[in-house]
Symmetry: C2
Subunit: 204 residues, 2 copies
């Protein structure tokens, strides 16, 4: 999945769309780590293997780049959920989507970039995009997934806790602190291994 872009990264010159996608991927990671304001275009450029002015050139402004990252993240999120709606129907829908959600932590920075946006509601443009995106997810849960308002609330609440635990890097203390273990097991009874494996990779 990412091997395509990794191969492309080695080219010194490529089609604009490919480079764009490559930068969006890198930007998602970096924004996820440091937040919107905390991220520099230079850092994104470094992560993508291009020059800083080129990043700006391609997306106009840092803000526009962030908006593009958010849009892409939302698309990936919803299409992952839709895929889960297919799947083994002996398994309840809520469970299938829940598992799909935790699996999304694999897409480095995706959920965290969203989380950073969610907390910037005060920004006139980023905030508006964040609200719209959040409601897209809610609408999906209510209509496509068939959740009741209360089920949707429950699901989103669990999701926000997972985002928080990942964002706060609670994984760092998983081994050493038994209370952290207890909490994380309660928050993601399944698929904890995915999150932990990912955290392991990050500590390089």
């Amino acid at each position: 999945m990412s091997s395509v872009s990794e191969n492309l990264a080695k080219e010194t010159r490529m089609r604009g769309d490919d480079r764009r996608e490559l930068i969006l991927e890198a930007a998602t990671q970096v924004f996820g780590d440091h937040g919107y304001v905390g991220t520099t275009t230079a850092e994104i450029a470094r992560a993508a293997g291009v020059s800083q002015p080129y990043v700006v050139r391609l997306f106009g402004t840092k803000q526009q780049l962030f908006l593009d990252v958010l849009g892409r993240a939302l698309d990936q999120l919803l299409s992952t959920f839709r895929a889960a709606l297919g799947g083994d129907s002996s398994d309840p829908v809520a469970h299938r989507i829940g598992v799909a959600y935790v699996e999304l932590t694999r897409e480095r920075g995706l959920l965290l970039s969203l989380m950073h946006a969610f907390v910037l509601g005060g920004d006139p443009v980023v905030g508006a995009a964040a609200r719209a995106g959040f409601m897209d997810v809610y609408r999906f849960l209510r209509t496509e997934a068939g959740f009741s308002p209360d089920e949707a609330q429950q699901f989103l609440a669990g999701g926000m806790l997972i985002n928080t635990l990942v964002g706060i890097r609670m994984t760092d203390d998983y081994e050493t602190d038994p209370e952290v273990r207890e909490l994380m097991q309660a928050a993601m009874p399944e698929k904890l291994d995915v999150v932990l494996a990912l955290a392991e990779g990050d500590r390089r």
Copy 2:
């Protein structure tokens, strides 16, 4: 409660501790709105009615100021919870603490400053403080409030969703969007009025 500090604000010169508290209050608000990185010491200074260098002088660095804000927020949070543990015992503990939590949105920026910290787990010093603070709350729920791991998880999940809805300023669309109304009513069946009234005040 805040009238004390408002009166003090009019003095051009005051005891260091009072000015300190005044600045911490202002900083909590501003950090809550714009996040750690997105906040400038100049903006905090303006909000507190002092000069920018004085803010730095008093706390050493912006980072230290943020850490102090976090510590203060945690203290207020836990003492509010402890007060709720007292209260009318015909009302279940979980409910009393839940209501107390929503009431905390009154303390402008308190929950949001915490939320901003929670998402900065990657920062070596802020992240460590955030994790420690989060676990303080978990430990309170488990020991003092007597929650099971699952009850604590449930409570924290609901809390993170409320934080997110407040941070994303979902209140802005409450009147116009029926789906937003539906979601917010599910997320905070009680005390929604407190949050809405607060949001009203913010849009000046």
